[in-house]
């Protein structure tokens, strides 16, 4: 297997975008091509979840490869729920590592705001088991709510800890010009004040409005290539050193221990092992905080903190910019936004940006190794990556 490097990155604003989905996917590739000066793309991977269902566009990759004038290069759509982005980057990694391709573009995009909130929620709910979960009205927030309740009972995580994640990530997002949410909030405002019940109503208790990431449109892209080609660009060398993936039971009720996210644990271990690092080596991480509880639990399952102590690290400020292991300095899903197909690629974008030392305003000083966790379904399909600056 050859070593694989990230030579170019691009991203759109995550917000409401009134452009066709294919253009939302294409634009960051144009940016990444400019960033890397590498235009000779052998293959294009496109990550997207809802295109066929809410945007009326199937075969999305075929639309994107043409609008970019990258034909006749091959192109494929990767759909792996919220882990579509991570999976697409992994496919791109494999294409270059195997020797099949030399320069690959990977883009992830979503245009969920083309439909109303009910349809967007339903799109995501189709991830659940059709007979054992979906028919009951189970949505992803409800699965997260039930999981959170168990975690609170078992490990002493409180609503205050969840609010702290939201406050931290929205604060981080203020330094990210592409982030969806540009709003500073306080724990008092969303939890303690008399207005809290109106500002921050329950969505799936104990999860509240500010515990859930927004619905966003947006796209992100990376260019993956060999060491020689990456070196020729003259940009800092960032290696995609490890990828890992694992699955778990479809129904959340069938998980071995319903307070574990085993797929995160396995995927994270595999990615870091491939990269030759351990959790304590990681300087900066992008975790999948679709719900605030997930950032806390993923930080434990990835091995950064002992199981059941992620909320203590949060209290200590370890995971805030300036702390021992800053998590989601981009704003994460909560602050940066969550265009489902784009997120996994956007996480890699941020880590590369950090490892290059170019993340002005939110730079983690001296960051040499980074980690991403892209969480599909409700933890039944997880893709993790480890990146190293050379």
């Amino acid at each position: 297997m050859r070593d694989v490097y990230v030579a170019g990155i691009g991203i759109t604003s995550f917000t409401r975008l009134e452009f066709p989905l294919s253009e939302i996917a294409a634009y960051p590739v144009m940016m990444a091509i400019k960033d890397s000066s590498l235009g000779d793309i052998d293959h294009l991977y496109v990550a997207n979840m809802g295109g066929g269902r809410v945007n009326h566009q199937t075969g999305l990759a075929s639309a994107v490869v043409d609008t970019l004038s990258l034909t006749p290069s091959g192109a494929e759509l990767i759909e792996n729920g919220p882990a579509s982005g991570g999976s697409a980057v992994k496919q791109g990694f494999m294409a270059v590592a195997s020797g099949l391709c030399d320069i690959v573009a990977v883009t992830g995009a979503e245009r969920m705001r083309e439909v109303n909130n009910l349809e967007a929620t339903d799109l995501v709910a189709t991830l659940t088991h059709p007979i054992a979960e979906y028919i009951y009205g189970v949505t992803l927030p409800s699965l997260a709510g039930m999981f959170t309740r168990l975690y609170m009972d078992k490990y002493g995580v409180t609503e205050r800890h969840l609010a702290m994640v939201a406050v931290k990530n929205q604060k981080h997002a203020l330094s990210n010009e592409f982030a969806h949410i540009q709003q500073e909030i306080t724990v008092e405002g969303i939890l303690d004040s008399p207005e809290a019940m109106t500002n921050n109503p329950y969505v799936a208790d104990p999860l509240r409005f500010f515990d859930c990431c927004p619905v966003s449109d947006g796209g992100a892209a990376v260019i993956l290539t060999t060491r020689d080609v990456a070196e020729s660009t003259g940009r800092p060398l960032v290696k995609l050193a490890g990828v890992g993936q694992a699955s778990d039971t479809h129904c959340v009720h069938e998980r071995e221990d319903p307070t574990d996210l085993l797929a995160v644990r396995r995927a994270a271990t595999a990615a870091m092992e491939m990269a030759g690092i351990s959790p304590s080596d990681v300087d900066v991480a992008e975790l999948h905080d679709a719900f605030t509880i997930l950032e806390i639990v993923e930080s434990e399952e990835a091995g950064f903190f002992p199981k059941g102590e992620g909320h203590l690290a949060l209290e200590r400020g370890d995971t805030t910019l300036g702390g021992k292991l800053p998590i989601n300095v981009s704003g994460g899903l909560k602050g940066r936004g969550h265009p489902v197909g784009a997120t996994g690629v956007a996480q890699v974008y941020e880590i590369v940006h950090q490892l290059r030392g170019e993340a002005e305003g939110r730079q983690v000083d001296g960051a040499r190794s980074g980690f991403t966790c892209n969480f599909g379904g409700f933890g039944n399909n997880v893709v993790c990556m480890a990146l190293l600056r050379e």
């Binding site: 009951y136 009205g137 709510g145 039930m146 208790d205 069938e254």
Partner: protein
């Protein structure tokens, strides 16, 4: 005939599954139809629950009470709750009722009441 919800027992190794899966989780050696269907027991313990306020469009109620129950045979199931004040560890009893109404279709599933 009263409705039931079924678990699936592998004919080769006896492993019980809910919901159905094509390949037995225990032995991974069976053919997809080598299962015996057994009605799920109704008695269980509430594991976790939530009140969902952001509802799918088809539900014309303000909130939906959902939960995960561990049944007396060790299997867990997700269902709706009709319980005023749910508590983890509470003893519950399931009934098969209409859980979703979509235009011309009724979907049946497990609804749990306090025992």
């Amino acid at each position: 005939m009263p409705r039931e919800i079924y678990a699936y027992r592998c004919r080769r190794c006896g492993e019980l599954h809910y919901p159905y899966r094509m390949v037995c989780k225990g032995c991974r050696e069976n053919d997809h139809n080598e299962f015996d269907a057994e009605p799920l027991p109704r008695a269980g313990t509430l594991v976790t629950y939530t009140d969902l306020y952001a509802l799918p469009a088809v539900f014309e109620v303000q909130k939906l009470s959902l939960g995960i129950v561990e049944l007396s045979n060790g299997l867990r199931i997700t269902g709706q709750l009709r319980i005023a004040e749910p508590r983890a560890g509470m003893k519950v009893r399931g009934e098969v009722e209409v859980v979703r109404n979509e235009m011309y279709d009724e979907y049946h599933g497990m609804v749990f009441y306090e025992s």
